[in-house]
Symmetry: C2
Subunit: 208 residues, 2 copies
């Protein structure tokens, strides 16, 4: 019985450890997200990351090689969650969630990626290396948007006189404008009807 | 006769001087535009501004109190010229001109404001004082866009089921997305059809 118990223990150990590692990784990502959003990339010091995650720098950098890797993992995590919302509800709903996001650094479920997204936009403008590292990671949002639109077209909900690639690029351009608009601190109270117009302009022809 | 001649001279002198001042001011604005676009606000040193304008720092700062004032005058000048294009051809044409703009720091007539616009966007994100100084200057583009749309509506070319304010905010949001897109160095070759879609979505209903 003891050898069987040991074998069982051996089989379980890696799984328990993996669960533990995943949970710790999640704790770091969730804690550092608000830290990056509040202080920006440069302002998110190791000290602040320790406070935000409740973990020591040793624990944090056991899971992520350096701050850059942590930020990229966070951006990738957010892009994946955005892609999930896109797949379920479409990119326009992602934008509506951004509008509903409080501007005070706190976050609401489903829309707490604005801070990360702003940092990604800023670093894409200023950092060529980052641009290359990000390029492959940003494709999943485009792919999710395109898949969603194709599905909507097959269901007869989408206009069929414009290529899905063009509609995807259109929605991504509006998202970029919205992120920039919010980043500049411009009022967003009146943008709900604008998003209605955006949504309607990719739908099946009016009057047909 | 001499007193009459003196009177005439007195009347002409201010006008001649004003022409000269205007020309010199124009020379400084045109020279510094490419300098700001190429090096960014911080990188546009006084030395570089001297080289770009062909004038001494004494001459430059005789016309503009400091670099901030020069940049704001430039941004205002560009916004005025954008507003002129908007009044004549609409905001979508302004965006098409941005797409035709070479990315190498040179400029083409009618679309050489991208560099300034990028700097404005960046400083709006990072500089609260600048945000306040810019607010009043940015209104002329909104006003020109709104006037143009109202004119199009009166001419029966515009959709009439969406408020002109919403259409204005929509076009400005897309412009902001385009500026951000170009600033991030993303490919713009495929955005022509996207702007066709934007233009069509503010026009009179299809099928009616």
């Amino acid at each position: 019985m003891q050898s069987a118990g040991t074998a069982c223990h051996d089989q379980l150990m890696p799984r328990v450890s993996q669960d533990h590692l995943d949970a710790r990784r999640r704790q770091i990502l969730d804690g550092s997200r608000s830290c990056f959003a509040r202080h920006g990339y440069e302002g998110a010091t190791v000290r602040r990351l320790e406070e935000a995650t409740g973990l020591s720098r040793g624990a944090i950098f056991h899971h992520f090689k350096d701050k850059e890797s942590l930020f990229l993992a966070l951006a990738e995590d957010d892009a994946g969650r955005m892609a999930d919302v896109v797949a379920e509800q479409g990119l326009v709903q992602v934008m509506r969630n951004l509008l509903d996001e409080p501007r005070d650094g706190t976050s609401t479920p489903g829309a707490d990626w604005l801070g990360t997204r702003l940092e990604v936009s800023r670093r894409l403008r200023t950092d060529t290396d980052f641009r290359q590292r990000w390029a492959q990671r940003s494709e999943q949002l485009t792919a999710a948007t395109k898949a969603r639109l194709q599905w909507q077209r097959d269901a007869g909900n989408l206009r069929d006189d414009v290529d899905v690639d063009v509609l995807t690029a259109y929605l991504e351009l509006v998202l970029e404008g919205l992120v920039s608009h919010l980043a500049m601190g411009l009022p967003a109270d009146d943008l709900g009807p604008v998003l209605d117009l955006v949504e309607e302009s990719v739908r099946r022809h009016r009057g047909l």
